[in-house]
Amino acid sequence: MDIQRLISMANQIGDFYESYPDQSHAQQDIAGHLNKFWALPMRKQIAQHVTEQGGFGLHPQVQNAIKSYLLV
């Protein structure tokens, strides 16, 4: 899929959790959302973007969530 679209979708998820006081928990929630609702090819693609492209365009919090908690 178009990586730009995945990036903006992932960032939108990050935006939702932005105001949560416990940001380490928010990271788990962001990744949890991706694990629960994104099909595996999409998760793989975004994970690859983080490892290979330095997660360019992704909000830092979303990158961290992907690095720490995404199941691929």
Partner: protein, 958 residues
């Protein structure tokens, strides 16, 4: 005392009592104990005594005009009308005495002397209350001739496409007038003139030009042939009845299909229908003719390429071809390249077998449903906060509401029968808050209803509004802390409370961005929190946004914080668009969930389905519709089985959708018509209409209602049978002999459905899930003592403005909606006489914006967005605010979705239909897309050997 039993076939004359106190009285020779708030007429009917009547019927308040129902009461003087006289303890009533007989005969004689005596040739012969009463009172002669003044020469009004009004037959009983007021709430009819001159009139206009919305309530209430269905005039009275459920909107009205052999004569709303209580709207009542429309395709068709003409083939050939293509694609590209889409227009049973086919046979979870583009945020938001992806109430609950908060919904157009009930409650004095960018009819255009607050917010700012309302409730001490402590997760509440209390969430801070005054927001919040039972009703104006799910959660937060949940009169009520949105979601048509909203990664659930279905199942969530389309554009998604859904017309960014379909190698469409998606298909399986199949639909209040076959499927098979055939051909035999057996399997595998069966539905009429061992009679209201998830959970709902922003190039916001007479993509309603009310989609634009652009009423205007361009005719109106334009999307050539973009809800990918930045200009020709569409669709229709005629209403310009 024995419980009073009501029979659906008896007219009790006046409404059922609500009181719990009872009185005992004697009527003729019978003693009867009844609620103390009913009339003598009603009590008599309960005692099995029928009193003659003409102006009374039990769906309406009594009026007392015909004087036929007079009775004698011992110890009282005169002859009171039984329909207006209340019961009292110890009364002794006589309904048949020589004196009464005399008076009644005299009254009937007067009626009949001004009534045409063409009973034998009258369309209601045998089904006419006037005729019945003449018999009942023993009328044998009429002493007054026709020489005197009479109304026999009055002119018929045949303007309404579905019913006629013949004033010559009118007895001025005013049942129609009261039906229009009390049942429908439109007040289109009045009695004009007095005495002999009095007559029924739709405001001195024809019915079609009047305020009448063609709901049919007056036709049903009329005791004579004055108001009567044209179909009855044409085809005669029906001879048998099958009870079924409307296939249009999420209200899910119950109907008696009145039949003559295999021909539907009329659809009459079922008096004891759980959702509609005998009421209907123009769609369900009259717009079913599409089922026999000549455009229907009843022979399967296949083709290699979409540039080729269709080849009509036998069912076996079509099924085998589809199966071989699917098998080839699976071998060549793998399971991940295949998926399916179900529709909210399918029955529960059809959705269930389709998702089973995809999960068990295709071997992937790439199954989605059109709820993706409407209420997926409801499923997500309510599951997160309350624990169940469904509305909390029954429709009747609104009658116990003191404050009704309608946000992003337009019930009078989208959910008309429920709107009538809501308006009844509002006329009784409930308060109304409306949050909508547009002035919907409830705001000030419904008789005797007026919104106390219309929060006319800018499209895309719902979350900010919810935050501001929450801010007021929290900072003004209006939270019901006792409820929150007992029922909700306290920590989540504290986080939410601290968040909404921040100054940037105050009405004053958000007012400008919202375009709503801070005072109004404060007042509305106070009213919601302190006005008694407060209920929220919302629709697609909430969900179809980039923050749709956030708003749904925000709404649940509000309800929990104010303890407006878990009892009659309150709650969170999503108004579902199509008839079976709730059901299609319940049945596991979302890619991440099995039936009953259980995640595919849950090992125990997966094991349950694996053992029942005998195939290994994937634990990975599948692709959603937009993901499938994106993958297709990139060449990795190749086969789609699309049942009853028209993604080309209803999904956003049409050109993206059609591009995706063109990249696929096998698109299978199952539908009644050659819909827009079918134009890109390789296999066409003809579908059956709701009149031709059995199954169930589940409405917005979780009510599972029966769909019953009243005629043989014109295409040969019910839709679930087609799916079963495909499955069999793919080497996975499914063994169902009847749709009821599919429901039995659903019930076995789904805890909330354990108690559901066709038998139970037939016995009860309908049942609201959860229905299982704990709640064998179903569950009208949810979350009464505990939330389904245990404790209710608050979520912080940070407002994030949409990225779909206006700028110099696209300075206006386009928002989309629906209209009463048309339904969704219009495939059905456009093929009925409902086009009398809505022949085309128009663009509503505010006079200021129109003037700036030199646009006049009726001009053709081009609407362009970042995604595309289309042309519509302009309607200049102050209903929309400055800077906002509005249209409907019932006609394919309008191309409303050519302009909507890929922007979508963060949690569910529900498209942001309600906000698209556009420019509007006067034009003199069709857009490029429309020109291409015209040529393309004409060719496709010719490929199917159909004429263009009724398929595409041509856009005429210049």
């Amino acid at each position: 005392m024995d419980e009073i039993k009501y029979s659906p076939n008896i007219d009790y004359g006046t409404p059922t009592g609500q009181s719990t106190k009872h009185v005992t009285l004697t009527i003729d020779d019978r003693q009867v104990t009844v609620p103390d708030d009913v009339t003598i007429m009603h009590a008599a009917a309960l005692a099995g005594v029928s009193v003659p009547k003409l102006c009374a019927t039990d769906s309406l308040e009594p009026f007392g005009s015909c004087r036929l129902c007079l009775v004698e009461i011992e110890g009282r003087r005169g002859y009171p009308a039984s329909c207006t006289t209340p019961v009292a303890e110890g009364l002794k009533v006589h309904t048949q005495t020589p004196k009464l007989a005399d008076i009644r005969r005299g009254t009937m004689e007067l009626y009949i002397s001004d009534h045409p005596l063409d009973c034998l040739t009258c369309a209601t012969n045998g089904d006419c209350e006037l005729q019945d009463m003449a018999g009942a009172v023993g009328l044998r002669e009429v002493r007054y001739g026709y020489e005197g003044e009479n109304h026999l020469q009055s002119v018929k009004d045949e303007s309404n496409p579905y019913f006629t009004f013949d004033p010559a037959k009118c007895i001025v009983c005013s049942r129609c007038v009261r039906a229009c007021e009390e049942t429908q709430g439109t007040f289109a009819l009045t009695i004009e003139g007095r005495g002999f001159d009095s007559k029924v009139s739709p405001g001195n206009k024809s019915f079609l030009d009047s305020e009448c919305v063609s709901c049919g309530a007056c036709v049903q209430a009329c005791p004579t042939a004055t108001l009567i269905e044209k179909k009855v005039i044409e085809a005669g009275t029906p001879e048998h009845v099958v009870t079924t459920t409307c296939a249009y909107c999420g209200v899910g009205c119950s109907f008696d299909a009145e039949m003559k052999g295999e021909e539907v004569i009329r659809m009459v709303p079922t008096k004891h229908g759980g959702a509609n209580h005998g009421h209907s709207c123009v769609k369900g009542r009259f717009a079913w003719g599409y089922a026999t429309h000549r455009d229907r395709i009843t022979t399967p068709m296949i083709r290699k390429n979409i540039k080729d003409p269709w080849q009509p083939v036998s069912w076996d050939e079509a099924i085998n071809y589809a199966a071989s293509e699917l098998t080839r694609i699976k071998a060549q590209y793998g399971s991940d390249a295949m998926g399916g889409i179900t529709s909210s227009r399918c029955t529960n049973e059809e959705v269930y077998v389709t998702q089973k086919l995809i999960r068990a046979v295709f071997g992937v979870n790439h199954v989605d449903t059109c709820a993706r583009v409407c209420h997926s945020p409801t499923g997500y938001g309510l599951k997160q906060t309350l624990g169940e992806s469904a509305g909390t109430q029954t429709f009747d609950s609104v009658m116990a509401s003191d404050v009704i908060f309608v946000i992003g919904a337009n019930p009078t157009d989208g959910h008309p029968v429920f709107a009538s009930q809501m308006k009844r409650r509002l006329r009784q004095g409930a308060k109304l808050i409306v949050a909508d960018p547009r002035e919907i009819d409830l705001v000030a255009n419904s008789p005797h209803v007026r919104a106390d607050y219309h929060l006319k917010l800018r499209p895309g700012t719902n979350v900010a509004l919810i935050s501001a309302l929450s801010h007021v409730i929290v900072t003004e001490g209006l939270v019901q802390e006792g409820f929150v402590k007992e029922r909700c997760e306290w920590d989540s509440f504290v986080e939410w409370r601290d968040f909404v209390a921040q100054p940037q969430n105050s009405p004053e801070a958000l007012s400008e961005g919202l375009g709503v005054s801070a005072e109004d927001i404060r007042a509305a919040a106070r009213l919601y929190a302190t006005g008694g039972n407060a209920a929220i009703y919302y629709g697609l104006g909430v969900t179809e946004h980039s923050q749709g799910s956030t708003t749904v959660m925000g709404i649940a937060n509000l309800a929990m914080a104010t303890a407006n949940i878990g009892r009659d009169g309150v709650g969170v009520n999503p108004l579902r668009g199509q008839n079976n949105v709730q059901g299609s979601c319940d049945m596991g048509s979302m890619p991440h969930e099995f039936p009953g909203y259980r995640h595919v990664a849950d090992d125990a659930t997966r094991a349950l389905f694996e053992s029942a279905w005998g195939r290994p199942l994937s634990k990975e969530p599948g692709l959603r519709i937009p993901n499938m389309l994106d993958q297709a554009c990139e060449g990795s998604f190749k086969a789609l089985y699309c049942v009853g859904e028209d993604i080309v017309q209803s999904d956003p960014n049409t050109q993206h959708v059609t591009h995706a379909l063109q990249q696929m190698e096998c698109v299978i469409v199952q539908d009644l018509f050659l819909n827009e998606t079918a134009m890109y298909a390789h296999v066409f399986f003809p579908g059956a209409s709701f009149l031709e199949k059995s199954g169930t639909f589940t409405n917005a209040e979780r009510r599972i209602s029966p769909v019953r076959r009243v005629m043989a499927p014109k295409n040969g098979y019910e839709d679930w049978e087609v799916t079963v055939k495909l499955s069999n051909a793919l080497g996975y035999p499914m063994h169902y002999a009847h749709a009821s057996e599919i429901m039995d399997e659903i019930a076995k595998l789904t805890p909330t459905f354990h108690g559901v069966s066709f038998k139970k539905i037939d016995e009860m009429g309908s049942v609201q899930w959860p229905c299982n061992d704990e709640t064998p009679q179903g569950t009208p209201i949810m979350h009464i003592d505990v939330f389904v998830r245990g404790k209710g959970k608050f979520f912080i709902t940070q407002y994030v403005p949409t990225t779909e922003k206006v700028n110099a190039r696209f300075p206006l916001i386009l928002t989309t909606g629906r209209i009463l007479s048309q339904y969704n993509v219009g495939a059905q309603t456009r093929r009925t006489d409902n086009t009398a009310w809505h022949a085309e989609d128009m663009l509503e634009i505010h006079p200021h914006d129109a003037e700036d652009r030199g646009i006049n009423e009726g001009d053709w205007v081009g609407i362009s967005s970042r995604a595309g361009e289309t042309v519509l005719r302009a309607k200049v109106t102050e209903r929309v605010q400055v800077g906002v334009v509005y249209t409907t999307f019932h006609h394919p050539e309008s191309g409303a979705n050519v302009i909507t973009t890929d922007s979508s809800d963060w949690a569910t990918n529900c498209p942001e239909y309600k906000v698209t930045a556009v420019q509007v200009t006067r034009v003199s020709q069709l857009s490029d897309w429309q020109k291409h569409y015209k040529t393309f669709s004409e060719a496709q229709i010719a490929f199917a050997n159909k004429t263009r005629e009724a398929k595409v209403e041509s856009v005429k310009i210049g």
